[in-house]
């Protein structure tokens, strides 16, 4: 209990994580994707990542001279690992990010062009627990995993889905948006061996309504040992967590607190713990069991 700042979200995080690197990635492509953009980066010495990890990337491409504004890097989930093999190092790995333009940093990022250089630190954070059961001590292999993604939250779910599939889990993916044009990454998820359910609030695509409708269906369909992984806007994660709790299944979420460093030294990314005190989202998370979080205390 002496280390106030390093509570681990769960004992089940994968331990054979690679050390993060810092370096300059090259923009391979940066294209529109639904309501946001898809950024492909070639990262020298990229060691590979674990599903749920993230990178800190510079706001926009770097000029030939330093510009001090905006100052801080931005956290972004690693959507896809391309051309690098799991946690093993390779000379250059390609990764993909999915992002939406919400402010200055992401606006500048959207202006980065092929061949330009972007600062990258990562992979960071603990990923999703995959191999061992979480808190419910049941054998999860073969049991159902329900992945719920809203907005850019789906960026954390693609590699998770692949990893769960490869571990023999039966995977349901629920992607939600306001309308048809809102969904990102749909084509990659369609190519996976998952049951894909899309929801739109206006009914323009897939199921009419919120992601919680198919989630509730999936949870009450009787199967035991399901796990929910929900990543998206806070209200969505809260609602998913509540449904999971009602059905006595574990729910993992990934928090998106503002961050300055991403590796546990600025103490800026604190999220309140259910039992008092704080987690550092970047180091103890960003993945947490929903019930470990004090949702009321989140800004």
């Amino acid at each position: 209990m002496s280390d106030a700042t390093t509570k681990s979200a769960s004992a089940t995080s994968i331990e054979n994580k690679a050390d993060p690197i810092r370096g300059h990635a090259r923009v391979v492509s940066n294209e529109e994707e639904g309501p946001g953009r898809r950024l492909r980066l070639a990262v020298p010495d990229w060691p590979g990542s674990i599903p749920g990890q993230f990178v800190m990337i510079g706001a926009g491409a770097e000029a030939g001279v330093p510009r001090r504004d905006p100052l801080l890097p931005r956290p972004m989930a690693i959507y896809r690992e391309l051309g690098s093999s799991g946690v093993r190092a390779s000379a250059e790995g390609e990764i993909e990010l999915l992002y939406r333009v919400v402010g200055r940093g992401t606006q500048l990022l959207s202006e980065a062009r092929e061949g330009e250089s972007i600062k990258v630190v990562g992979p960071l954070g603990r990923g999703f627990p995959l191999d061992r059961p979480a808190v419910a001590s049941v054998d999860e292999s073969g049991s159902k995993a329900i992945l719920v993604g809203g907005g850019t939250g789906i960026a954390s779910l693609y590699e998770l889905a692949r990893a769960l599939i490869s571990r023999g889990r039966s995977v349901v993916v629920i992607l939600g948006g306001r309308s048809a044009g809102d969904l990102m990454g749909q084509r990659e998820f369609e190519a996976l061996d998952v049951q894909l359910i899309c929801t739109t609030e206006d009914g323009s695509d897939g199921v009419h309504g919120l992601v919680t409708t198919p989630l509730a269906d999936g949870l009450t369909s009787g199967e035991r040992g399901a796990t929910v992984y929900a990543v998206g806007p806070t209200p969505m994660m809260k609602a998913c967590a509540a449904l999971a709790a009602t059905n006595s299944v574990d729910c993992y979420v990934s928090l998106e607190n503002p961050m300055a460093c991403g590796f546990g030294v600025c103490l800026g990314c604190a999220a309140p713990r259910a039992e008092g005190g704080f987690f550092l989202v970047c180091r103890a998370g960003p993945v947490f069991l929903a019930r470990e979080i004090d949702w009321e205390g989140l800004p």
Binding site: T5, D19, V265, A270, G297
Partner: protein
Amino acid sequence: MTEAIDESVNFAGIVLRNPVLTASGTFGYGTEFAPFLDLEKIGGFVAKSLTLEPRFGNPPPRIAETPAGMLNAISIENVGVRAFLEEKLPALPDGVVVIASAFGTEPSVYAELAARVSEHPRISGIEINASCPHVKAGGIEFGQDPKLLGELVREVRRATTRPLLVKLSPNVTHIADMARVCEAEGADGISLINAVQAMEVDVETRRPVLSNILGGLSGPAIRPIALRMVWQVAQAVEIPICGVGGIMNAEDAIKFMLCGATAVQVGTANYLDPSSAQRIAVGISEYARSHGFKRVADLTGALETPRE
């Protein structure tokens, strides 16, 4: 051009392999940086400010970005002195120079912290954090009142024979007066500056961005303020100075040395590029060599001023 150059500096009795330290609260407990730089290739680091007991900080949001700067109101979240000495220090490689930072609400608490860390052979010096800009009690109060500051330094000085640094608050009218008080009470060195008290507002929520309302401004935005204070203090005291504030690269660090700093601390830059400190140390040495200095230490105070 390629002769070896003496990079070491003696800062307040602490021999550093080069003048680049990292600033308290921006370098964790050191090990976090092992993937990014060689801890034995920087001058050393000042650990996160310690309190007697482990302590949680402010609720979120704790940080915000401002033009060329960042705002924080962490509020001395730390593992406490015991865990620091028993768990954090032993995890560090042997050659790493560690300076402990002490924070409290009473001079006696600072003194007790100083006494406890002084017993540990791995501690090379103690920095008094008399300047945290966003903790309600303690810290900044000492840093803003010469009388209180004098009492604080006196009491801590009695508690340790180790090199004693005082980190000053920039939120004062006359920084040189504060430095003189520290010198008179037996401090071995001055670190300056801590973050500048500041605020940011979100016009959509119409609320302060930080839960604490006020925070400390750090980063390049404050560098010209820090540089001015280092220069003013260098005119006022004989004890050595460690320059802190917005240092992003070797050029920035050299400016502080020219103004009179013996060493520097790199803070916010560690977040942007966790290898900053090592890169800066190399850059200083290259500058010294290419500009005809025999020793990096000769950069200190090498500013030519038109008058005064």
